[in-house]
Amino acid sequence: MSASFEFTPENKKRFEEILRRYPTKRAAMLPSLHLTQEQEGYISPEAEQYIADLLEVPVVDVREVVSFYTMFTRNPLGKHHIRVCESLSCWVRGSDEVKETLEKELGVESGGITEDGEYSWEVIPDCLGACELAPMLQLDGYFEGNLTREKVVELLKKQAASKTSGK
């Protein structure tokens, strides 16, 4: 996590490809920020400046976008990030139990990171678009549904096991 930021050579190429999709440079803002977060895990002030220079906009315009969208984070997250849906359909099917289980199993509250840096998690008041699986969560972006206390525990165990087996 150095203070300076620049795209890797591979991502520079991807950035050039992104620019070609739009009639303005600024329109590459969201894809560039996704790319930044994919590379670094979060968006640092230095990265904001870097993107501002690339897109030829004031850095405040980048900050405005980063702070507006909930998926962009200005702080590092855990190696694995969990988002729990708390929207109406998940709530009536027991999202409270999912929350309680995660809090207990991970030992940190929503918004926190575990001590070993493996997991961060948060409760999302927005619908994640998988109500047929309610209650559900997203683990590193992928949906896990029809959750119960046991299933959440099992999911975390499976995740830990896949790590030790080097997967």
Binding site: R21, Y22, P23, T24, R26, A27, A28, M29, L30, P31, L33, H34, L55, D61, E64, V65, F68, Y69, T70, M71, F72, R83, E86, S87, L88, S89, W91, V92, R93, P125, D126, C127, L128, G129, A130, C131, E132, A134, Q138, G141, Y142, F143
Partner: protein, 432 residues
């Protein structure tokens, strides 16, 4: 009415994502027919006559929307495909993109050809990771297979399709918020007029259509306008995907003709209420829509006009079922948490109103509410709607008004006893 398979035909079929398989199963035949045998205006005319309406939530007639785009302009025109589905309870577009992305791409070709568009952006919500991956793969295959690109299906028509990922903002599903986000800004909706058909993406004429709306186009071109309009009911053409969730045995996506009775969706297709409990209420079109009581839901049909008559809306087709064990005070608290979180902050009545409503409901749920709070909620419900640039504020006001007026006894009980009526009843039942 039985389930139909106009656009859900290949849901669950692992093969349907492959271009090769899809071409062997009717894929892109309608786009080819449009490009080779029809004039652009004929395509628009067909869509107008089909009574296809915008299935993202607003229900605006699709063909008419296209017809607002000026003809002899020398500016480029754009298509923005709205796959930002984030209305709580909505998950239907995800099925199209995950299982049958080529149907969407075919719809994009047909729409683009009708309007004279050569660049389309698919705006997909950032949370949709696997749908994005599948869509990206389909677009890649379509380019490689000569379906899109310099010569669409080998014809003298150029069309580029790009995918643009959102980053977690409900407001970007509002069509002008989407355009701002596409242009690299925060998703603040624009004042209208000018409408996007004249001044849209990058200052140019733009059509914004929902994924499901576009996915109906291949069927309409193949079978004709009459076929589609005959499927539905008056002024509500065709079939529609209903995303059923909440307290039902079989939540999921069901494609049904417009005008299907709601109780059929819930009891026949959805397998009825969980554990045989009683139906209490239905949120018929995403949480922006007014809640229906069980009696209203029993009478309702699933189309834009019937639900509008019941002072609610068909919205995004997200039907959320609530049973007798759901506390309506807490349910509204849940809904308004969402709106206060997702208000973009541009208009004062929405920014302050949604936050105020949420604070009051939090106070009630925590046992500190007063009768005056209920009056304030009613007052806010009357005054928040129609005061802001976009419909989010009204979307927060509709559930507010309807929950409080239709289930007032629960709100009063909660304030008086500092406890939920429903939970007390449940406790007493257990004690007995």
């Amino acid at each position: 009415m039985p389930i139909v398979k106009n656009i859900s035909e290949f849901f669950g079929n692992e093969n349907a994502r492959s271009l090769k398989w899809r071409l062997e199963h009717g894929g892109y035949e309608s786009a080819r027919k449009a490009l080779r045998e029809m004039k652009p205006d004929e395509v628009t005319e067909t869509v107008i006559n089909s009574n296809l309406r915008g299935l993202g939530g607003a229900g605006f007639p699709t063909g008419r929307k296209w017809s607002f785009v000026p003809k002899g302009t020398d500016k480029p025109k754009y298509l923005a495909v709205n796959c930002d589905e984030a209305e709580p309870g909505t998950f239907k577009d995800k099925y199209i993109v995950e299982w049958d992305p080529h149907r969407l791409l075919e719809g994009i070709i047909i729409c683009s050809y009708a309007v004279g568009i050569h660049t389309a952006y698919i705006y997909i919500r950032g949370e949709y990771v696997r749908p994005f991956e599948r869509l990206e793969q389909a677009v890649k295959e379509a380019y490689a297979g000569g379906i899109i690109g310099e010569k669409v299906l080998g014809e003298d028509y150029k069309l580029d399709v790009f995918i643009h990922r959102g980053a977690g903002a409900y407001i970007c599903g509002e069509e002008t918020g989407l355009l701002e986000s596409l242009e690299g800004k925060k998703g603040w909706p624009r004042l209208k007029p000018p409408f996007p058909a004249l001044v849209g993406a990058f200052g140019c004429p733009t059509v914004i259509n929902n994924v499901e709306t576009l996915s109906h186009l291949p069927g309409i071109i193949k079978n004709g306008a009459q076929w589609f309009s005959d499927l539905g009911c008056e002024r509500n053409g065709g079939s529609r995907l209903f995303a059923l969730s909440g307290c039902v045995n079989k939540p999921g996506v069901y494609e049904l003709p417009m005008g299907t009775p709601m109780k059929e969706l819930i009891y026949e297709h959805g397998g009825g209420i969980l554990e045989g409990r009683k139906l209490k209420a239905v949120v018929p079109g995403g949480t922006s829509s007014a809640v229906l009581t069980a009696e209203e839901a029993e009478m309702a049909t699933l189309d834009f006009d019937c639900l509008a008559k019941l002072k609610s809306m068909a919205g995004s087709g997200a039907v959320i079922v609530l049973d007798e064990d759901v506390c309506m005070v807490k349910a509204l608290h849940n809904i308004e948490h969402f709106f206060s979180h997702e208000s973009c902050g541009q208009c004062t009545p929405c920014r302050e109103g949604t936050a105020w409503v949420f604070r009051i409901l939090t106070r009630i749920v925590e046992g500190g509410g007063t009768m005056a709070d209920i009056a304030t909620l009613k007052n806010l419900g009357q005054n928040m709607g129609g005061t802001s640039i976009c419909a989010l504020c009204e979307g927060a006001a509709m559930p507010l008004r309807s929950f409080v007026s239709k289930f007032e006894d629960e709100f009063e009980y909660y304030v008086k006893h500092k406890r939920s009526l429903v939970e007390d009843r449940k406790r007493n039942a257990v004690a007995v």
